[in-house]
Assembly symmetry: C2
Homo-oligomer: 147 residues x 2
DNA sequence: TATTGTTATACTCTATAACTATA
DNA sequence: TATAGTTATAGAGTATAACAATA
């Protein structure tokens, strides 16, 4: 009886809800910045670099689903803030290598604390079961965003 | 042993993943428009109107987490596209009532079909269990976006 | 000739501040 | 005096197109 294939009415409703929720949340996230001087994409790039260690601008652009010129600007802003270091690529002189600075580590740690505060304020509106669902969905959303 | 209160390391990691996924997905959603001439917020407003039947610009602004002047512009664009009708408020001559047209209904139906196609293409990268998690999370995300 | 990254430019979306009309 | 909506303006973030350097 339960139709588990994709493309059911349930799936369509879920996609609809996810799309509109993502847009609304993204608008609020843009304003509720953990660091007033850092845009969400800049934060996301730092998060990516914290995981990868380092990457080229082109790799970052692909990972963040942003066009190369946009990443050029983002990397330049991060460098100006002392959060990122640019070095020449060892094998290819066209490319560059972007790495996070220690200041970025510190900042990310601080950002995590502030996010927890934001989380706590939102948590008042969700019960335990709902949070359990969200915790389980977080990695899937992450995978979806990377597909 | 399991700490079920908010503010645990698990919660922080989940919030982190949700935040960055939401931002990445929102960027992609902005481009992968179901209707080329409609922004994500315009789509969201039409979805809201389809549920509520009608609303004032102020109500819509609050629901979409957008400032009143932004909603003025959005409503004007939707009206220009014939997707929304504006009428005077019966009790208060300062307010207006925004309602969706039949054309909006048709458009939303068409949009749903296109979203299903996008869903199907993404579905190839997720397994059944992951989709089940997302389906369960969709209403919670929706609630979160409205808090 | 193809690819990486940059520069120059324009566009979309949203916000803030100031204003009008009504309550 | 307070509220709903609008107008005018500015800003943030991203894209596209054209270009430079290197492969």
């Amino acid at each position: 009886m339960p139709d588990l294939s994709h493309g059911t009415a349930d799936d369509a409703a879920a996609v609809n809800a996810i799309r509109s929720s993502v847009m609304r949340l993204s608008r609020r996230l843009k304003r509720q910045r953990v660091d007033e001087s850092l845009s969400p994409t800049e934060m996301s790039v730092l998060g990516t670099l914290a995981l990868c260690g380092s990457a080229t601008p082109g790799e970052l652009a692909r990972k963040e689903h942003v066009q190369p010129p946009s990443m050029t600007r983002i990397v330049a802003l991060l460098e100006a803030k002392g959060l990122v270091r640019l070095e020449p690529h060892p094998d290819d002189r066209r490319q560059k290598v972007v790495s996070p600075t220690e200041q970025a580590e510190t900042m990310l740690e601080d950002a995590r604390r502030k996010r927890n505060a934001w989380l706590a304020s939102l948590a008042e509106g969700l019960d335990e079961d709902e949070w359990a669902v969200l915790r389980a969905a977080a990695p899937v959303l992450e995978k979806l965003a990377h597909l």
